[in-house]
Amino acid sequence: MSGRAAILARGLRKGYRGGGMALDGVDLEVEAGTVHGLLGPNGAGKTTTVRVLATLTGFDEGEAWVAGVDVAARPRRVRERIGFVGQYAAVDEVLSGRRNLEMFGRLYHLGRRRARARAQELLERFDLVEAAERPARTYSGGMRRRLDLAAGMVLDPRVLFLDEPTTGLDPRSRSEVWAAVRTMVAGGTTVLLTTQYLEEADRLADRISVLDAGRVIAEGDPEGLKARVGGGRVEVVVADVEGLAPVAEVMERVSGVPARVEVDALRVGVAFEGGGAALTRMVRALDEAGLEVEDIALRRPTLDDVFLGLTGSREGGRERT
């Protein structure tokens, strides 16, 4: 990596009382001014990593530096340089959007006048001016999230932590939040965001760390990670639900990697190298097994495939509690 690291973590380990190791040696290096995605299934340790780096939770072993400050030694100093937007929108429901931002401004020690001016700026930047005087409880999911992001940006933090910023949002709100994140990055903020949506990491992140069971199992830029899976993926559409399992079995046998089954779309896909020749082999194998297919096609790989290939989990990053 050429630039300097805004976040540097080495060998972070943390166990919760009564649980196993939530972090089992996490290494992370995030270049200043970039977006880094932490991708992983539920329980992988994404939230724990972010909470450790944002000084909310201690860790047992390892070392961590955020915006030039040793997290373990000077947590208060870290807090002056970061913004934290947790998994649940942590805005005050009763206060208006404006009052929320003013309050956080005061708590960042901006002083009354500057807090007020800053609130106005943020309302404009996050497109909340019209709703500014309404209580936050009347906001839509996307607006609430934007207010939450704005509250995390009061000080123009060097580093912003976003824990699953779009989980539970409809597609429109999601793209609103993505736009807001891009605005922040354009302003020079380094962003570490966790997500279980591969598409989100693909769209927003300059680099991605794939987390599984408290370890980083892969790191790279989205294209590089996709390239690891090789040429592409084969997708087969079947006529009915009964057809899914036998087709998946054949495809896994031929490709040697786990297949992803999308029941709703009646579609089975596997990551698969070899281009046209591979497609032919797949068609032949399905034919020999006497299986009917509606459609078969070769597609460019997605991060889903990367994920599946790395974790071997069929549910990779898709389920949600």
């Binding site: 300097r4 805004a6 540097l8 939770t57 970061i82 708590l107 060097r158």
Partner: protein
Amino acid sequence: MRTLEGRAPERVVEAVEVERSGSWTREVVVGLGWAVADAVVVARRYLTHLVRRPGEIVGTLMIPVMAVLLFGFVFGEAMGAAMGVDSVDYRDFLMPGLFALTMAFGIGNTTIAVVTDVGRGVVDRFRTLPMAPSALLVGRGMADVVAALVDLSVLVVMGLLIGWRWHLGPWAALAGLGLLLLLRMAFTWIGIFLGLLVRGPEAAMKFFSLVFPLAMVAETFVPARMVPGWLAPVVEWNPLSATVLACRELFGNSVASGDSWVAQHAIPMAVVWPVVLLAVFVPLSLWRYRRAGR
């Protein structure tokens, strides 16, 4: 860390040097100033809640107001007769008990507010701000005292309407109200601690169902000499009782308050009890807040 001896690895963005701007005492004074300022900002937040959702105050006052009507007028004569006083004197006796009861019931609101903030992630957000770690809790405590002032004002007016009076002048009366606020402050911190301890409002409600009998097994409705002998010490040593007895004394209530040790030292005990509770629950709460989510 150990190997780096506090120096940042080379790749880390401009490492900050440890600067010591002034003397140690200066830092403490500045720190305290911010702690108070931050707490005031937080207190304003909770007071806004109170104004926007007056239901909370109405809810807190419901039970005491019902009790005024029920014990003042329905059972008042019988209770008074049992104590050897008429119903007017009984109401005079009753009001300080209800004031203190209301202070105790404030615990419920505090606990629920704190539990909700923890559950919604608001506490996490506050904990990542560079503000004084005590500010969220102290601010809540401040707001509660203001809420208690509103509660007390309503009840005082209500009391005056049904014939309760202070007989020893306004200063003694104010001293009594001050003791009630002190009690509420202590109870607030119990509420804050419970809020940080339990998970979810349902668990908080369970604790609250314990507060209810504890607030009753005190000098609230009847004097200690009228409860069964084995229960009398509980009544006497209930923190609520000291405040109730002290208020009866300061308001100049004619019903004799008994001759137990606590009854004889009601006013000092009405200070000692809340101070002890604060000395226990303030540090406990701050400790718990710092460790939240570990």
